[in-house]
Amino acid sequence: MEIKVLSNILKANQAIAAENQQLFQKNQLLALNLISSPGSGKTSILEKTIELLNSTIRLGIIEGDLQTSKDAERINVFGIPVVQINTEGGCHLDANMIKMALPGLPLPEMDCLIIENVGNLVCPASYFLGEDSKIVVLSVTEGDDKPSKYPIIFRESQILLINKIDLLPFTNFNLDIAKEDALQINPDLKIFEISCKNGQGFEDWTTWLAKKVNKKNDSFHY
């Protein structure tokens, strides 16, 4: 006997993500989903971004982690709202985990929520959390073949941060190839080259982000 199932694995997630999205809209905040391989520098980027924007933009963070709360502790020292989600081995955050975490954040008093996803380039790309944009981080130590190997995340993201640019001289990473491949997959991708070590590129990145946050906030004052 044959049973037709035709069930999209992502459908239940999609419905909850839409609820989260509505909540973000209601609170006029820009929600970002930060995705990369393990160790590309997501938490370091958050630390530096918070440092630069903390005085002008009210940020809140959700930290997704397999087991520990190390990343959340790193964010905690800045005194901004942060919630930790442990996926207990799960390789991505899903919309329901975010929904459960949101009551732990003062949404009306925030301008921007950044969600650090679990280190993984594949699964997080398919799980919409309700965010305005996905940001993919690629560090130069990972190789310039990542866009062609994991196209979906480069397709789904609006922003590409190429991190650890300070290490470029010590690797065989070809910046032009990486950017060209990424743009072929997604011609609208906005690319920043940054280094958490020496701060290169952070002015451009944070200026752009601040503009984007303000635009989102303004869009409600008709």
Partner: protein, 108 residues
């Protein structure tokens, strides 16, 4: 993701009073970068000691199809180059390639 596949299968097994699952057909978009062998490996582990143990997992890859919004050409994207072959435009609407679905299952 395989955990969610198993969840869907278990629901079906329950509602249809299935005695044994022989085969499960998945449809997975090419953009998903899924490695079939690792999905099958995962399935075998999760299916152990259930009615799904020993079932074949068949994974059909769905091509990435796009519609050019400028000239109306429908085409299949090869090697992830999102560019209209007709007018070289990049204003595309993606029609397929992102799916991950349980299509059907063969059971007793």
């Amino acid at each position: 993701m395989m955990q969610e596949v198993i969840k869907i299968l278990e629901e079906q097994v329950k509602t249809n009073k299935v005695k044994k699952v022989h085969k499960v057909n998945l449809k997975v978009g090419k953009l998903m970068s899924v490695v079939p062998s690792s999905l099958i490996f995962c399935f075998e582990i999760l299916a152990k000691d259930t009615l799904m143990e020993g079932a074949t997992l068949d994974i059909e890859e769905v091509p990435v199809k796009c519609l050019c919004q400028d000239c109306g050409t429908e085409f299949i994207v090869e090697s992830f180059i999102f560019l209209c072959p007709q007018c070289r435009g990049t204003n595309l609407k993606q029609l397929s390639g992102n799916e991950f679905m349980v299509h059907n299952m063969e059971v007793d």
